[in-house]
Symmetry: D2
Subunit: 364 residues, 4 copies
């Protein structure tokens, strides 16, 4: 398989470039009988959409998704679901400069080395615009998981550059443009982003994502552990440079007595595991965290080379997110949903269905 | 595919339990014509082997690998390579207690929920003993990559609990039982481990792994980015809870002007990217880091439940690594090698061969 | 993977139903740098298109394909190629009867059992309309194979019901609506089809497909032999009930001395093998043949049951091909092209490129 | 994936050469809780074993299989099942001649072109000896299918060269060395084979395989239709040149009214479909047939070339089956079992379990 497909049983294959005609995706393996309409996807697409605040790119895309197949009389049929989003705001501009230069820290240089050609309009296939289709596909998985298993998947921005959220108030997450669960930090973030925009610089971020009520038993050791597939899924999102499950890198300094999550008949007493033991879900909340680097599309000049190997100074103009992490929460949720969906189907294939009548003991 | 296979073109499928008859593996897709003997794998297997110092488990396994197929007259034939390691030190003991209890923070509980049965002898399939076959398979990949492309893959322990290596002296890595590149820290690590063993506790660790001279162009966007596959590979190693590429979680607080690796005609000026841009290798060294949790096999009692849901106090006896990170360096190297090998073949399939005559510009 | 993807490195994933909004497909893994436009695909799509003679269904579909991604400045970029064909002639009709009955020998009954729901409009996903996307994808593979390796893929109808082509004159194949290579048999076929249409019955057919100038070495034993993948590909076409390679079922009565294709320094002396030895191409022409059953959409009544299990008499009205084999030649060619393309890339991945400068010795 | 793995959820990966140390296989994805011992596999292995009559090769292999993992206390655990058969009768002989010649109609020529090297001892990987592991793996699938779904899979030789079985008496199949269901034809076959052996020639055969009580709903359109996967599976068996499902090539001359299997509330009235409609099982018996070519290992001289391209006359000595079809029945059954098992798990993954309490209506 050639890299544009994710999942083994619930498979998502995407196509499309930043400034091409359209983005599209095929979801294969969706169980039949799920009520599904464009509105189910639009909700999440709108959360990811650019241009909803002054802190994201001003590109205007409606990101309206169309279902082209796989749904009949309002329900999935078990056959592949074709999705399409037309690109509407591909601004015509002069790409001649960008075509001959490698922007520092962009995929320009590596795509050119890999393929010998590249679509330089807006980053082509390497643009994060591609993640719109992940969000659409994730919405399908999310709906199924919620209806069938009662799984709830939610994410939030836990850190924007130097500013950390110190409270986790889920109700706040959608009350600000940052997906920040700590209302007290929002003004600070607003000010930080305004200053940054003036400077012309960009900043990194950290996103956490949590899945609750996941039944124990999902995950396929040895290589397709649930956490390994999650790491794969999250690291495949543009700009992600690190992934943690549960205690993550804090585990390095933990002693065994401290890290191990003890159990009682009522459930686990802590969740350093992040909900995964031996690669299999334990019933505890699945907790993952990811680091996003600052975008490299800056109007502050940077040293680079052109396609002939000559030194150049590159300035990136155009419409860019100064913090790609701001719009990444729905994408992280979508990838979590796709991974869980895929593993639920894989588990059911080998082992039969999970017993949804038993309450999940694992909850922290 | 059911989870015990890694790779798309260079595929590694393993079997075997901690106390079963044998461990085995099939490598499929290895290019023909590679000189290969058991000795090529034994070198790495010996580096991972238990019982080589007082700081690791005292289980005695020769870990002697046999090649059963795929090699003829000293060279690979392109057909599948069957490998076998017989288990020789499965100590017979009374497993009745462990059979009915879930050790806290072990896979006992999750395997039971997933499969309804479990091989409780020494952790069965969930034991890190399985990683021996990864090391054997990785040695094949490593040899090919070195001979064909001049790639060098090396790892080291960068942190053992609270003790961080502060120098990176590659020559030191194999001069101590910890794979520590900083000779000055070794006495401290020795003392720390001795104290820990007396306590009966365990500790986490961090391992770094670096691949040098990787040609630009390896990696398959969107989902099978080189870094995503690396994250998958490393997170699939027992006890790993976090993975970073390049600057990793430090990216969260970096500004774009700080993070972006500028280029000159002579190469990159920094390597925050960790050698991967847009999911494709850039020619810079590939740099990954992983966090390993402390083992949960402790003789200090912990609260848990038995298979009937009753509360129990669990004490784990037997032979265990107080720091699984100590033996993890060769495993991380092996997974890096398998990922690069797989991506080299995938790249060659779609795009034709890389030009090995051109020096890699990417070096930092 | 969930059944709607074909190929390992050159992968084709399709979606779409007979009377849905559109058909689509994603080609992933296409080598970069191939000149490609809609016209390259349209040529083959037009050959498969319905309504070009009175002997096929009178449904009017322009089958105009749009490239939505993966092509930039006229060349493939190595990223996924998204293709779309809008359905334009979904005639609105009363489906209430068909919705509650299982047409004999149709997929109605099995889709209902598999998925619990089905899109009954025109057969939904089970309709041969889906093959349009195979033809489009096959055209991409065909173009690459021709330009890069000089491979030529051609098919023809060798038998229509009781009437066998007795001459193989390639120039005749496109001179008649049947893809028949024997001009003498065309009037007989015309008459036969006219009579059949009056009767309201249908008839089977046999299609042969030949690939010339295929380099030796393509095919992956053991399970993904070239002939096994070809059998898979051809049997996956609607209505196909049998596949032969080379001598096929005639091999049953052949002696070894008769079947074996002897060689001289100039090449093979016969081609009972059909170009495949041990699952790997030999350089001889690849020769495959397939049997297509008569369509079961008849206006002559047939006994069946309804969704409640009651006996019913079913009459199928609407626009149908009385011999689905007539339009199957371009589909068989497309699947042959996709299989060869996939195996060429897989071969190149593991073994490096084939040497195209050496003439293929294998030719018969 | 590199060709030595079959199946998506129930995956079988094999290794081993004719004269190597051992044959092996890993079954991944087997449901847990299945009682399994070596004896379950040995029964089928013994049916395939060489040397049980004078009509097969006189190579003596006990073909004793060992289970190395995946079974604990007599039951499968859901983890990979490692199987091993040591080769015991690799007769040492002078291979110098065979090493430099390409035997006509063998894989010698194609393996050499593909890989540049080949293991020429007994055909290496291309030998049908590899099929032993398929039979072992098939036995696991067969046992599960029988216990869980009541599926029965049986095969027979329907034609040996010019001699056709005219009766199908299942009780006779194991009463003669040919798996012939027509006792009256056995003496003729005996005489035919004796004469053939004297001549030094070989002959083709046809094998039929039938699966009864298969629930409706198995098979994944579009590309992974049940019949397409069966064609793949059967064509991947050494020497197979043709595959039919149901009426097969007879469909070419059938009219729609003749071919279509009408239904009544009691079931189908005929089975031209061979149990598959639209790529999905209908509940009717699955009926497949395959053609095996005559072996090309003949002591009658044949024209060929050597590795330098010079003309040579080749005589194949050694121990060979004059009719490979004779031992092929258990192999065909095994592949049928593996395909059905894989599709059952795939179906259960996407759609939930089949209802085994309802009797299968589909029976003919």
């Amino acid at each position: 398989m050639s890299g544009n497909t994710f999942g083994k049983l619930f498979t998502v294959t995407t196509f499309g470039e930043s400034h091409g005609a359209a983005l599209g995706c095929i979801i294969d393996g969706c169980p039949p009988g799920l009520e599904l309409s464009e509105a189910d996807m639009q909700r999440d697409l709108d959360r990811r959409k650019p241009g909803t605040s002054r802190h994201t790119t001003q590109r205007r895309e409606a990101d309206e998704v169309r279902i082209l197949s796989g749904v009949f009389e309002g329900k999935t049929t078990g056959t592949p679901i074709g999705l399409l989003i037309e690109n509407t705001d591909q601004r015509s501009k002069d790409y001649s400069k960008i075509a001959s230069q490698f922007r520092p820290a962009h995929a320009d240089y590596t795509y050119m080395h890999k393929y010998g050609v590249r679509d330089y309009r807006g980053g082509g296939r390497s643009s994060a615009r591609e993640t719109a289709m992940r969000v659409a596909a994730g919405a399908v998985a999310r709906k199924f998981l919620e209806q069938r298993l009662g799984i709830r998947i939610r994410g939030y921005l836990s850190q924007l550059g130097p500013i950390r959220a110190e409270k986790l108030d889920w109700d706040q997450v959608h009350q600000n443009p940052f997906f920040c669960p700590d209302a007290d930090k929002v003004p600070e973030m607003e000010a930080y982003m305004d200053a940054l925009r003036k400077e012309g610089d960009s900043i990194g971020a950290r996103i956490n994502v949590v899945a609750e009520n996941v039944p124990p038993g999902l995950g396929e050791p040895i290589f397709d552990r649930l956490d390994a597939d999650l790491a794969h899924a999250l690291m495949s999102i543009n700009a992600v440079k690190g992934v943690e499950i549960g205690a993550g890198f804090d585990s390095v300094e933990q002693k065994g007595t401290e890290h191990r999550d003890e159990m009682t008949p009522e459930g686990f007493l802590s969740n350093n595991a992040g909900g995964v033991l031996g690669g299999i879900s334990s019933g505890q909340p699945i907790v993952a965290s990811m680091a996003l680097k600052p975008t490299s599309s800056l109007r502050l000049p940077g040293r680079s080379i052109d396609v002939d190997g000559n030194p150049v100074e590159v300035i990136t103009t155009g419409r860019h997110d100064p913090c790609v992490g701001i719009r990444a929460t729905p994408i992280a949720e979508a990838m979590m949903a796709i991974v869980l969906m895929d593993h639920y189907l894989r588990h059911r294939g080998q082992n039969g269905d999970v017993d949804v009548s038993t309450p999940v003991l694992g909850q922290l």
